[in-house]
């Protein structure tokens, strides 16, 4: 059972297993790539905990949408999640302005209440529909190959779950590229964004909508709790390797591939759940970055050196 090599070969031994595992690996790559891209902007905006809060706060929206429609298809669930997210925002704003509570306390209170409400709703059995709480909370990426076949105009086109995630992943990549400047400037300097005539508030809301979409599309695979790991790990790991945002964004792709492959094999080897194994792989990759990364790693702290060098304030030429 604990034989590493054997378990790795075992995962790819037969044709059926290759197909089965490839679907899981692709799903993992698309989930962590979408989460990572959104996560880069969430992290540079110093909103990492807001991402956590949002992923919890939208749970009642997900459950209600499921109870109403009887399916976990991305569209209705996303709408439900966005409504719950807006509800959260309104509650926080109300608590913050009408009571002496500070913002952090208001956020902590609201999101945990919404999360609790979501869990309570999960245990409800309305009619015939029933949701497995473990699947929502922890995700089950291993079940990806069991998703129904997508049939378009009578032609079978492959795994429905992969198609859904693929579309969300594509949408995330396209929005990142198209709105890159808006996201960059509003994250770095809101007053500059304003003086360039950018709609600062709309961009903020747009990013929140994208965040909700990615969480909704990913939670079946990695769960509403571990989705945050997939968001935070890529940007914080590569921030030790790269100094510019485009490089950090690009590094999300190789990191996603590593997380997905590493997670699958770790799960095979030790008989772990795959989603948690992906997060563990992410942490294992994070550690050497944090320790030896050229950009502020603990054992290679070039940052303080170059500040001393620069503090002479004398230009080279």
């Amino acid at each position: 059972m604990f034989n590493l090599v054997e378990s790795l070969i075992d995962a790819w031994s037969t044709h059926e297993q290759v197909i089965w595992n490839l679907q899981i690996v692709f799903m993992g790559i698309m989930v962590s790539l979408s989460c990572g891209l959104v996560g880069c902007f969430v992290v540079v905006r110093r909103m990492a905990l807001l991402g956590d809060a949002v992923s919890h706060g939208i749970l009642p929206g997900i459950v209600i949408a499921y109870l109403l429609t009887g399916s976990l298809s991305v569209g209705p669930v996303w709408i439900g999640a966005c409504i719950a997210g807006l509800g959260c925002g309104a509650c926080i704003e109300w608590l913050r302005t009408k009571t002496p509570l500070r913002e952090d306390a208001a956020m902590g209170l609201t999101f945990t209440s919404f999360f609790a409400l979501g869990i309570v709703l999960l245990s409800l059995e309305v009619g015939q529909v029933h949701l497995d709480p473990a699947c929502i909370l922890y995700g089950e990426i291993g079940l990806t190959p069991l998703a129904p076949e997508l049939v378009l105009w009578g032609v079978p086109c492959g795994n429905q779950a992969l198609w859904n995630m693929g579309l969300v992943c594509l949408a995330t990549m396209i929005s990142t590229v198209v709105f890159y400047r808006f996201l960059l400037v509003t994250s770095f300097d809101t007053s500059l964004a304003r003086s360039l005539g950018m709609p600062v508030a709309s961009i903020q809301y747009g990013l929140m909508l994208l965040l909700a979409l990615v969480v909704v599309a990913s939670f079946e695979s990695v769960g509403v709790i571990l989705v945050l790991a997939m968001m935070i790990l890529p940007p914080v790991s590569s921030s030790f390797l790269f100094r510019r945002l485009p490089n950090i964004l690009l590094s999300c792709l190789p990191l996603s591939i590593l997380y997905s492959l590493g997670g699958l094999h770790l799960a095979y080897w030790m008989n772990f759940p795959i989603s948690a194994s992906m997060a563990i792989t992410g942490v294992v990759i994070f550690l050497p970055c944090c320790l030896f990364g050229p950009n502020g790693g603990i054992f290679t702290n070039t940052k303080s050196l170059s500040i001393q060098e620069g503090s002479k304030g004398i230009p080279i030429n």
Binding site: V44, R46, V178, R181, F182, L184, V185, S187, F188, D189, T190, S191, L192, R194, S195, L196, G197, S239, F242, R243, R244, L245, N247, I248, N295, T302, K303, S306, I307, G310, S311, K312, G313, I314, P315, I316, N317
Partner: protein, 262 residues
């Protein structure tokens, strides 16, 4: 329709409050084109708040701001803003060049690629602030003075007509201080209008053509030699002035601009 060009900045009866506590009270100001105005006053006088209200970041309780005769919303793209150093996230993953290029975004078009012309122009702006050798450095790896020069290069790249700067001299070295003064004067000579929040009374007289003395209200606004008087400064700074005015008069006696340290 007026025959004259609209003024770069008109502030009328501007009142700003944080949670019902007024921090700016009935400010009236009209700034002519090509002015280099220093905004001085004690801590908590509302200097930064005034800049933020002009930028439209803070909504006033009363009064209005007009920029080139238009609302802030409409004319905001003609305004360049240099933020206070403390308000910038210096760990943000951008290089000096990236920061300056941001100033070109509204010229380059939102979705088009940054053209070679924009890149060359941004490099020229960095060069003007003597920062071109550091173009690829992450901004956190620059000294305080260098960071400030990057932001001034960005302001240059924006090619704005009205500049608002919040404490650009805060925590910079002597070379940068000199570079900023030269830049301010050269922009003024190009007919740009500059409002600069400044906290150092000993240099205020030397750096600015006009001064706005602020302490919740606008105590005085006019040519530097007319308003930089003991009486008006006393009214602006209250009891704190004794020490400050001594520093000020000592500075005048020695006639020692900070660049002379070199």
């Amino acid at each position: 329709m007026k025959a004259t060009l609209p003024k770069p900045l008109e502030i009328h009866d501007l009142t700003v409050a944080y949670q019902k506590k007024p921090v700016l009270y009935g400010i009236d100001m009209e700034v002519e084109a090509g002015s280099l105005v220093g905004i001085i006053g004690p801590n908590g006088a509302g200097k930064s708040t005034l800049i933020k209200a002009v930028m439209g970041i803070i909504k006033p309780v009363d009064g209005y701001v007009k920029i080139f005769g238009e609302t802030t919303r409409k004319a905001i793209t003609r305004v360049g803003y240099v933020p206070q150093r403390a308000s910038v996230d210096w760990d943000f993953p951008v290089s000096a060049m990236d920061v300056v290029l941001m100033g070109r975004f509204s010229h380059a078009g939102w979705f088009r690629r940054i053209s070679k012309r924009d890149r060359i122009f941004a490099a020229e702006c960095l060069e003007q602030m003597n920062m071109l050798p550091y173009a690829n450095r992450q901004i956190g790896n620059l000294s305080g003075g260098q960071q400030q020069r990057v932001f001034l290069a960005r302001a240059l790249a924006q090619q704005s007509d009205l500049y608002l700067m919040d404490e650009p001299f805060e925590g910079v070295d002597a070379i940068t201080e000199k570079a900023i003064v030269d830049l301010l004067k050269s922009l003024r000579n190009q007919g740009k209008t500059l409002l600069v929040v400044h906290h150092d009374l000993s240099t205020a007289k030397e750096y600015f053509d006009q001064l706005a003395l602020l302490n919740l209200r606008l105590v005085a606004f006019g040519e530097t030699q007319d308003v930089f008087t003991h009486d008006l400064l006393q009214r602006t700074y209250g009891g704190k002035l004794t020490v400050l005015s001594e520093i000020g008069s000592r500075q005048v006696e020695h006639k020692q601009p900070p660049s002379a340290v070199l």
